[in-house]
Amino acid sequence: MKEVILSVKNLKTYFFTKRGVVRAVDGISFDLVKGECLCLVGESGCGKTVTALSILGLIDSPPGRVVGGEIFYDSTDLTKSSAEKLRHIRGKEIAMIFQDAQSALNPVFTIGDQIVEQIKLHLAVSQRGAKERAIGLLKEVGIPSPEEVAGYYPHQLSGGMRQRAMIAMGLSCDPQLLIADEPTTAVDVTIKAQIIDLFQKLKESRRMSLLFITHELGIVSEIGDRIVVMYAGRVAETAPAAELLKNPKHPYTSGLIRCLPDITQEGERLESIPGTVPSLVNPPRGCLFHPRCNRAMAICRKEEPPPVSISRGHTVFCHLY
C-alpha cells in the first residue's frame, strides 16, 4: 500500500485585486505518494506556482488567500495550521526551491551562510557542524571545490552552479518533500540536462518525494512518475507519465504533446493551440478550455466537466468521456 504524504483536496486560491477577483487556483486535487515524483504541468499562468505556494502558505496575503479546500500533509491540514506550525514545516519537512536562483538567493550573503542559516534554524548542530554539512550538501549536488564555493556570493557563480546551490539549500534539512518550481526554466539547455540528472540521482539516493513544476513536457517525460496537467487554475488530466504521453485523453493534453517539435518529422509547421488562456477574473462557464477546443460540444459551454476515470490512476476532466 503506497503511502500518500501530500493530499491536496479541492484547493482554491483567489487574489482579490482592484480589477476583480482572480481565481488563480479554482479546485485542484491531487495526491502525492511517498517517494514519487509528481509533475505539475501547464502553460504560464495556469496556477502551478500558486498551487505550490499555497501548500506552504507563502501566498502574499493582501491580495491573495486560500479560500477553500484542504491540504493534508502527514494528517495535518496545512490550510488550517498556525503560522508557527507552518514555519516548522517549511524548510524542514517540505522544502521549496525556485525558478531563478539569481533573484531567489539573497545577494548580500554568501552561499554557505544562507545554507547554514537554514540548517541551524531547524537542526540542532553547532556552527562548525552546520558549515560542514553545508559543504557536504554542495558536494552532493555536484559543485566542484565546495569549500571555496561556500564562501562565494550568488553573483559570483554561473547559472547552473547557482541552481545547484539552491537545490543544496533546499535539501539541507532532509525534507520529506521537495517542491521544485520550474528549476530548469531559467537555465541553458545543456545545464537543463544536468539538473534533471541531478534530480533523478537525488530522488533515488534520498528516497525523497518530489513535486516538480514545469511547463516543459519534455522534462516531464524524463523525471516524472505521475503527471497532473493544469489549465487555467483547474486540473485537466492526471495520469502516470508513460500512460499520459502514450494515451492522452484531454484535448488540451494532446494539443500540448503535439506542440512538441519532433526531430524526426521533416518540413512540418510547428503546431500550436489556437486562442489564448481565458481571463481568470471572470472565467467563462463550463469547461474553461472549450473556446480553444476543436472537439467542443454544447455541454462544454454549460457545465464543468466531472472527473472520469479512464484507467487505474488515469483521470480526465472532459465531457468527451
Binding site: R90, G91, K92, M96, F98, A104, N106, Q118, H155, Q156
Partner: protein, 325 residues
C-alpha cells in the same frame, strides 16, 4: 582576496578624494579673488569705520595676503598656507582662525551628532514599520507626517518652537548659555529645541527613504525564499530585507548631508544662538572677516568630502556585488 581588493579600493578613493579636495580649494580661491572687493578692501572699510589710519594697514595687508603678487603666486601661497595649517587671522575676534575653530567646533558637533542620532533611530524605525505594514493606518500617518516634516522650513520651525516653548510657555531659554558644562543634563535640556528643529527635517527624510528602500526589497524573490526556509518573519525583515535596504539608504543619507544637514545646522545655530561654526561664520560675514568665512566654507566642504569617502568605502564593504568586477 576580499581584503586586498578593499585596500586597493580605499587607496583609489583616497586618491580621488585628494583631487576633489584640490578642486574645492581652487574654486574657493577663485571665488574669493574674483570678488569685487578684495579681503583687503573689506578690512580697510572696517578700519576706516573705526577711525584708524589706513595706509600702514594697507601695506601690512597686502604683504599678508600677498595681494601685490601675481595671481598664480598668490595661489601657491594660499595652498601652501592651508596645508601647513595657517588658515589666516580673524581680525574681528583677534584670534588665529584655527584657534577660533578649535574653540567652537564642539558646539556644532554636538548639535549635529544628537540630531542625526535622534533622526536616524526614530526615522529608520518608523520607515521599516511603515513599509512592513504598508497601507495600514500607521503607514498613512507616518507618511503624512514625514511629508510635512520635509516641507516645513526648518528655520521657521525653530522660530515657532521658540515662540511656543520659550516665549509663551517659558520652558526654555531663548538663547544658548555657554557657561553650562557640555556633559550635563542642563546642557541637554537647552539643546532639546535646536535638536528637534534640526532633527525633524532629517527624520522625515530618513523615514521616507527607509520606507521606500524597504518596500523595494520586500517585493524581491529572495524574501519568498527566506520565508520558504522557515525563517521567522522578524528575521526575514530584520536581516534579509533590511540588509539589502541599507545599501541605497546609505547612499541617500550621504547625499543629503551636504544639502540638508550642514545648511540646516547653520540656520539652527543662528536662530538659537549656539556658538558653533555656523554662527561664527555668520558673525564673520557681517564683520567682513574674510578669513573666517573662507575657512569655515572650506571646512564644511572638506567634511562632506570625508563623509562621502567613508560612505563609499562602507558601501563597498556592505555590497558584495560591486566588489568582484
Amino acid at each position: 582576496m576580499r581584503k586586498t581588493w578593499l585596500r586597493d579600493y580605499i587607496i583609489k578613493r583616497l586618491f580621488y578624494a585628494v583631487i576633489i579636495a584640490w578642486g574645492v580649494l581652487t574654486i574657493t580661491f577663485l571665488l574669493v579673488r574674483l570678488g569685487p572687493s578684495s579681503p583687503a578692501d573689506k578690512y580697510l572699510t572696517n578700519l576706516a569705520a573705526r577711525g584708524e589710519e589706513p595706509t600702514q594697514a594697507i601695506e601690512a595687508i597686502e604683504a599678508r595676503y600677498g595681494l601685490d603678487k601675481p595671481i598664480y603666486e598668490q595661489y601657491v601661497d594660499y595652498m601652501g598656507n592651508l596645508v601647513r595649517g595657517d588658515w589666516g587671522w580673524s581680525f574681528s575676534t583677534s584670534m588665529p582662525v584655527t584657534g577660533l575653530i578649535k574653540a567652537h567646533w564642539i558646539y556644532s558637533f554636538q548639535l549635529i551628532l544628537l540630531s542625526t542620532i535622534l533622526a536616524a533611530l526614530i526615522g529608520i524605525f518608523i520607515g521599516i514599520y511603515s513599509a512592513v505594514r504598508q497601507y495600514s493606518k500607521t503607514d498613512y500617518i507616518a507618511t503624512f507626517f514625514s511629508f510635512i516634516g520635509i516641507s516645513i522650513p526648518n528655520f521657521w520651525l525653530g522660530v515657532m518652537l521658540i515662540l511656543l516653548f520659550s516665549v509663551q510657555l517659558g520652558l526654555f531659554k531663548t538663547y544658548y548659555d555657554t557657561s553650562i558644562p557640555l556633559l550635563s543634563l542642563a546642557n541637554l535640556k537647552q539643546l532639546i529645541l535646536p535638536v528637534v528643529t534640526l532633527g525633524t527635517g532629517m527624520m522625515a527624510g530618513y523615514t521616507r527613504y527607509t520606507r521606500s528602500a524597504m518596500l523595494d526589497n520586500l517585493r524581491k524573490d529572495f524574501v519568498r525564499t527566506a520565508r520558504a526556509k522557515g525563517l521567522p518573519e522578524r528575521t526575514v525583515i530584520g536581516k534579509h530585507v533590511f540588509r539589502n535596504a541599507v545599501l541605497p539608504l546609505v547612499t541617500i543619507i550621504m547625499f543629503d548631508l551636504g544639502s540638508i544637514v550642514f545648511g540646516g545646522a547653520y540656520l539652527t545655530e543662528i536662530i538659537f544662538g549656539i556658538p558653533g561654526l555656523g554662527r561664527i561664520s555668520f558673525n564673520a560675514i557681517f564683520a567682513d572677516d574674510y578669513a573666517v568665512v573662507v575657512a569655515i566654507t572650506l571646512i564644511s566642504a572638506l567634511l562632506v568630502l570625508l563623509i562621502n569617502l567613508a560612505t563609499d568605502i562602507a558601501y563597498a564593504y556592505l555590497d558584495p556585488r560591486i566588489r568582484y568586477d
